[in-house]
Symmetry: C2
Subunit: 351 residues, 2 copies
């Protein structure tokens, strides 16, 4: 897939691009989700892949760091995770080789790159950067709450991990295809690798979280759109505070509710029943009005990967009828997704 310019902004903490995707010694495809996400959404920023024993592949050309550097690569992205979120000793030789080849190293893992003495020493010696995208920028301001110029869309959800990033990326792409000036604004590690910039909302200091959301999506010209990746859920027993700070700081004009049909309880919190889509719409408007009285819901994004095409279409139609607004699966695209994107862009009747 090609990547519209919407996905290569250089706002907050611009990353060295293009990338060489590093797969380590990973043998489980699920652990390479980050590499697949970057390939799918920022493919024209990836010159190739490299590994030290991995059996998984992104399908991109296999290049050594030196070959990647010759083709213009500036950063090596650690595109795999493991259960512990740490960088095993067996990867360190490869990472040091990348530094020697002239690449910076970019990681979204919990462990900080500079905690590995050999990496820290090599980066220091060679004048290369070790970039942890889970680290928020310094000097995030306290939120002002003041309305900024430009238009903003935020994806929200009934829960975590059901398509908020994917929906935002797909909508940003759909906006760009329509000739709309748009930036995808990333709030999580994979989104930041894809966008080349962003702020990891979950890692911000609580008092500054709304300020981080303001910083992420600064004032722009009146017709410009920021499409902002949502986090958590206002109904989540652990993460609702992050979601509210992101809502208040983003000041969205428009939001899209993301949901995984069939999910009945909060992931990892089986005591908590999932809210309905209607409840999410109501609460998002109620709380979002504090910083943007004109906030409105453009429609619904359903993750229908577990259904066949007919069942998915039937569910989308039923949901759209029931709620009186577009419902689409960005993975399937099609007319329903066109309607959702257009509903987000259209001023509401009477406005």
């Amino acid at each position: 897939m090609s990547t519209p310019s919407a996905l290569s902004d250089t706002h907050v903490g611009a990353l060295p691009q293009p990338y060489l995707l590093f797969l380590g010694d990973t043998t489980v495809p699920g652990y390479a989700k980050t590499a697949y996400g970057v390939r799918d959404w920022a493919g024209d920023l990836c010159v190739g892949e490299w590994a030290c024993g991995a059996t998984v592949s992104t399908g991109l050309p296999v290049l050594t760091p030196r070959e990647a550097k010759e083709r213009g690569a500036k950063g090596l992205v650690i595109g795999v995770a493991n259960a512990g979120g740490f960088i095993p000793d067996s990867w360190v030789d490869a990472l040091v080789e990348a530094l020697h080849a002239g690449l910076d190293i970019i990681s979204g893992m919990h462990m900080r790159l500079a905690e590995i003495p050999r990496l820290a020493a090599a980066a220091e010696l060679l004048g290369r950067r070790l970039i942890d995208v889970r680290t928020p920028p310094r000097n995030i301001p306290i939120a002002s709450g003041r309305k900024r110029a430009g238009k903003r869309l935020l994806t929200v959800g009934t829960d975590c991990a059901l398509g908020k990033k994917y929906t935002a990326l797909a909508l940003a792409r759909a906006f760009a295809v329509r000739g709309v000036a748009v930036d995808f604004r990333a709030t999580g590690q994979t989104g930041i690798l894809i966008a080349g910039s962003g702020i990891p909302m979950d890692a911000t200091i609580a008092d500054f979280s709304a300020g981080a959301a303001e910083m992420l999506s600064p004032a722009a010209h009146a017709e410009h759109w920021d499409v902002i990746e949502g986090q958590g859920s206002l109904f989540h027993p652990a993460y609702a505070g992050v979601s509210l700070a992101l809502l208040h700081g983003s000041q969205p004009d428009v939001f899209v509710v993301c949901h995984q049909p069939g999910r009945t309880h909060v992931l990892g919190h089986p005591e908590f029943v999932l809210p309905t889509i209607e409840q999410v719409i109501e609460l998002t408007i109620q709380l979002g009005q504090r910083t943007n009285p004109a906030i409105r819901c453009a429609g619904i994004s359903l993750n229908t990967g577990h259904l066949d095409a007919d069942a998915a279409q039937e569910l989308l139609t039923r949901t759209a009828t029931q709620l009186g607004m577009p419902a689409a699966d960005p993975m399937r695209g099609g007319e329903s997704f066109d309607r959702l994107a257009q509903a987000a862009l259209d001023e509401p009747a009477g406005a």
Copy 2:
């Protein structure tokens, strides 16, 4: 004032007590608010005060660090702030002297004590602790959302800085006087100095804020009360996320709404009209029900310091009548405050 045992718990990050209160070279009483707060609410944990040129005083005995140590002091508390939130060079000799006398140093300032090389070196040499109460504990868990045993009261507000800490302290004391097993749970720096423990909610990492609130107020026996110091406001454009995380993690059975009569707009955010007390009650119940379906409002705490006694009493009576629940000013105490404390303790009719 004496201090009930409620205020000397040793739960999270227990501080070295008793204290010697340090006033630096402060000449502006407003800058000594922390020292006054600790004197007022943890007076039996303060052996004296000490300064290096201050003209303000807490009225406690003036003691050198060595004299304070002889009377049992374990920590020197920096009880003053200055405009920049930093520790001036002119205090460092005095602080080093305190370390030599055998006291740990406790600070609630933004600047970390260990950033001052002479302090860091002296503490290292002498085996003394430099404690920054703005630093949250390590290993805060992600919130589980699971209901914990024991009872909890949270003070909430229409805004910041209008009496949530003071109200919580006064209620904890009133509970203790009634023979109720109670702990005051501090969520800000002055509260932590008073309680001798606590977690600075504003400094937690956003994803862990609700978990911090759970950690702050752990499971207890069924009749035990935690009275938790609130932070921010659910209507605050910068801090609502912190307030929501604290509400969800605290799982309060009861809350008290704090308000400053006459304040019409959010402090420092003149574009934002303050919510009404009724709006705060409604939203706190609506959102708080997510982790405690039985949440209820016990009454209102008004900061009436700017009114004379008659006007204050008239306002409290009018507010109580209007809202159908007790309204009191903890600073004034009296029958209305007794009613508020009792309403918090009483099971609601029909429960």
